[in-house]
Symmetry: C2
Amino acid sequence: MTTIDDVARRAGVSASTVSYALSGKRTISAATRLRVEKAIADLGYTPHAGARALASARTNVLALMAPLRPDVDVSVIMQFVTGVVTKARSHDYDVLLLTQEDAAGLSRVASGMVDGLILMDVEAQDPRIPVVTTLRQPTILIGLPEDSRGISCVDFDFDAAARMAVRHLRGLGHRNLALLGPPPAVLERHTTYADRLFTGYRAQCAADGLEPVIEATGTSHAAALAALDAVLTRSPGLTGLVVHNEAALASVVSGLRDHGRHVGEDVAVLALCPAYVAESQPIPITSIDIPALTIGEVAVEMLLERMAAPHATETRLLAPTLHERQSTFPLQPPAPTGR
Amino acid sequence: MTTIDDVARRAGVSASTVSYALSGKRTISAATRLRVEKAIADLGYTPHAGARALASARTNVLALMAPLRPDVDVSVIMQFVTGVVTKARSHDYDVLLLTQEDAAGLSRVASGMVDGLILMDVEAQDPRIPVVTTLRQPTILIGLPEDSRGISCVDFDFDAAARMAVRHLRGLGHRNLALLGPPPAVLERHTTYADRLFTGYRAQCAADGLEPVIEATGTSHAAALAALDAVLTRSPGLTGLVVHNEAALASVVSGLRDHGRHVGEDVAVLALCPAYVAESQPIPITSIDIPALTIGEVAVEMLLERMAAPHATETRLLAPTLHERQSTFPLQPPAPTGR
DNA sequence: ATACAGTGTTGAACCGCTTCGACAACGCGA
DNA sequence: TCGCGTTGTCGAAGCGGTTCAACACTGTAT
């Protein structure tokens, strides 16, 4: 292994000069810098990360704790991860991947492996929160706990998204709506996005004088059809369906067809999912995009800010945007503006 | 931060004794060990990873380079990652996640960040191979390059899987088969699994006296339908369809219905995909399971072996297994045993 | 009693880098 | 010419562990 001393010798300078030439923390003459750079190139030198971390007390590594189960919304998780990794790399940070199951992982990596942490899939009373608040390193949550005081969070504004969905369908003239939500397992875990989604949905329905019909939706084909049957039974005149369940979306669409309903013609479907999922359905689905990639990127940015200097805690909720595609339509020609 | 010296002081021993008590590399009296353990517990001490890495020249971290694009088969990728991370953790290793795009990443992490590397999504002439063979750390490839000499690989035996698929359908009496393969992009990247799949498919068709009909299949709904139309045109009497394209599977199934064909009744569908993908289709699909989780685990095991002691290079291909579900059926009652 | 082979413990060197304080060389204004 | 602030470079002291050689004990065989 070539070390900084090898480089120093070859460039005819001291090791500290090489270090300063590399970090730029002190002025180095152009001539010397060139000699150092040449020596580095000749030798193919790369600083030893461990030594650097020890001496500088910075590792240039971020920890990302992700739910690694082939559960719902794999592609959403992948997008979070991708957003985090690419944004981290663009700031010269690497990412250490932890699983949700690795309870001791947080303290382990906090002692000298990472400079900051990002936690995904946060629950209402997340047991990891008391742990990370004692750490020297800053932490960002992706998701919202019940009590977010003392900790910074990013998430999608599910409340606003649900309201937007209802308003949009209502604006198109639909008055018989239903919401097919996340699987029961998500509710049992008390991941708060489901609560926020339901809250927003109920509130907007109330504001618009609509009956809120809500059903949790399992991810299997059978479970999705069962949930669909349930809402059709409760609300036979249904014309508008909001689906927040990537895995069930395809099943719901095909189920509607089996019920003799035509998506985009006599029933409007509005999905909450990544844009590309909505686009790849048999009928392109009008969707409110879940900007998972962006959320991952924002998480990294917030984290870097807090690593650079003390910062107040902050909660950032990303606003929803709606993409109209072919699965929605005005129910009666002169649709009232449902704003 | 509490250091090993704090622990030593509190336990009334030297730092080296604490180190030996922790590592077990020298005998320590039971009494001393107990005092040390108590001190560690009292102080909540966790050894500093960077310092340990520097002194011992081991980091207990593995690098995993994964294709982080919301491309085909996200769930397969997630399973690889999950297999790698969980198996690594069970051996007290953490995982550093790199993206395929991070060209310089390999050399960067190789200088002091990781003890070994795993590379996913290997191409025929993968430019990363010459890089990793110069590294001090061992590397395992998930996938097979054209020339695998000098490097260890794990992968699914796509050749055998294709043969098994043909034999199975043939054994059920189907003689008009077609293969819907991975998207054109995969072929252009020269990821070799597609080649091996095609080779095996053609060979078995030849052996069984069948006409090999093969079509690359895009991931969008429209592209999947186009590919289906193409094979139905080329082979109007088609009764058996092999699909190796997780993203297109649902579209193909629904497309068949639009063509008036009934999966499991007048057309047999056999998919190559993770079991849970096959199970969650409207009709449970007979599948040859892609054991992505296992492959990830095997990769870690092979890597650990090579980190522990010099080892010969080795290529491991995991044998396919077939799960019969409801999408396949015997075409004519006394089906010859097609073994 | 003497030598000898474990045991258990320790001090010190070292891993490769960063960073602080010191200092030489230089130009500048007084 | 003297003193002083700049600029560029260096030596040495860590950072927090691991590990080697050395050593003080015990207990056992001679």
